[in-house]
């Protein structure tokens, strides 16, 4: 039986191996994904983002518990940064989730960003698809501890949770563009630390000024948690489930699926062309590059030349 058949039956060994090969772009992996793709799109994909150290992994660990109590099958994709110097990485998010390390209905996978910008890695979306095809109900995606403008996570998730903690800025920070506009649910973690209430007020004031963009519908809720003590997590899980039921019925999920498909197509086109450059006649490629360097042609003309070749 092929890898994809095993994955559709929920086999962890096969899923783990396919994810590995998708990451490394090993021959045959993309073809398995082609088969699985039609079986995806069912799970609620929840993106979790926020600055390093605010408690994303700890909160995520608690959320697994909440969803497991409701007997939902959970997948976790946790992305940590690769070193731009050595290419190595410490994938340490899993430390906070090991309570569920032996639960057969929880599949946790750590990914290194491998130079991909925006808080995810090239294989993150494929990894989500593999877990979706395995039959997971909820897939939690933890982005690299991120800055203000890392919003890829919001573009690949059905719901985006921004985790914040006190002491990270005043109401001017709240006015800034970027992830604050893209999040659906805001969690102030470490709510027992001084400044949590001020942060909540500043955040709520900002949200009250938000227009009627699609992202403001229903949720844009601010919740307070102390993930270290498993406090307030029930409310977060409840809000996520309510929001999912809401966006499934009001047409927003179809809209998001189309946006996601568009983004995925853009990435696939880039990927396809990049891979073609790696595998095409390298002598011819060098020739093209030489001509470019000598300014005898321009990049867009060369792209057209390459595309004509492919077709």
């Amino acid at each position: 039986m092929g890898l994809s058949e095993n994955i559709l039956l929920g086999d962890v060994l096969s899923a783990a191996r396919l994810i590995r090969f998708l990451e490394d772009e090993v021959d045959g992996a993309a073809e398995e994904m082609d088969i699985l793709y039609q079986h995806t799109g069912h799970a609620h994909v929840i993106g979790i983002t926020g600055a390093p150290g605010v408690g994303k992994s700890t909160l995520l660990g608690c959320l697994i518990g909440q969803f497991r109590q409701k007997n939902m099958k959970v997948g976790v994709v946790a992305v940590d940064p690769s070193s731009p110097f050595s290419g190595g990485a410490i994938l340490g998010d899993r430390v906070r989730m090991q309570t569920y390390g032996v639960d057969a209905d929880v599949f946790i996978r750590s990914l290194a960003s491998r130079g991909w910008k925006g808080g995810l890695s090239r294989a993150t979306v494929s990894t989500v698809h593999v877990m979706d095809a395995m039959g997971k109900d909820i897939i939690l995606v933890e982005a690299v501890g991120s800055g203000q403008a890392d919003i890829d996570i919001a573009n690949v998730s059905d719901t985006t949770v921004l985790v914040m903690s006190p002491g990270a800025g005043d109401d001017v920070q709240m006015m800034k563009a970027g992830i604050l506009e893209a999040a659906d649910i805001f969690v102030i973690n470490k709510a027992d630390v001084a400044g949590a209430e001020q942060l909540r007020q500043a955040l709520q004031a900002m949200l009250s000024l938000s227009g009627n963009s699609a992202r403001t519908e229903y949720a844009r809720t601010v919740l307070m948690t102390e993930a270290n003590y498993d406090k307030g997590i029930g409310d977060v899980a409840e809000t996520l489930i309510k929001r999912w039921n809401y966006i499934k019925t009001n047409g927003e999920i179809e809209k998001r699926r189309r946006e996601q498909a568009r983004l995925e197509l853009t990435w696939a086109v880039e990927d396809y062309l990049r891979k073609h450059m790696d595998t095409m006649d390298q002598g011819q490629l060098t020739n093209m590059i030489d001509k470019l360097a000598q300014r005898k042609t321009n990049p867009r003309s060369v792209v057209r030349e390459i595309i004509v070749q492919i077709s």
Partner: protein, 139 residues
């Protein structure tokens, strides 16, 4: 110009043992040598370590033990790996291990034991020589 295969390793501390300095130093060294390191930290059961290794599809598990329970914990991890389909994952160990236990541990399937004072280069080079990123798509 195919993308390079990445090594993936998992570093964990099994059992009731709080001495994680060694494990952290090893994890950092692997990172700096270009490996992707899943760091599991303290107080892991053999089941947790084996499940994580399979879900993460690592090539190598490095376990560190300072509690004296290595003669139980290391073989138990090897046994569970084989039962759950991860028998192809290389297991190495370190920590406070009496020299006379090493031959016995190797008999159970532990590939190598690195004692305190081993230079990091030696461990990294050993890994590069003895472990390769998995290349079979089926398992």
């Amino acid at each position: 110009m195919k993308p390079q295969r990445k090594f993936r390793v998992l570093i964990a501390k099994p059992g009731l043992d709080g001495h994680d300095r060694g494990a952290k130093v090893i994890a950092r060294s692997y990172r700096d040598a270009g490996f992707e390191v899943v760091y599991l930290g303290l107080h892991q059961t053999p089941e947790q370590i084996v499940n994580a290794a399979i879900q993460e599809d690592v090539d190598l598990i490095g376990i560190s033990c300072h509690s004296g329970a290595h003669m139980y914990l290391f073989p138990e991890i090897i046994k569970l790996l084989r039962e759950k389909g991860g028998g192809d994952i290389t297991v190495i160990g370190g920590g406070i291990i009496p020299r006379e236990d090493i031959a016995e541990l190797k008999k159970t399937g532990v590939k190598e034991i690195f004692l305190p004072g081993t230079p990091m280069d030696k461990i990294i080079n050993w890994t590069r020589e003895n472990v390769k990123p998995v290349d079979r798509i089926d398992r």
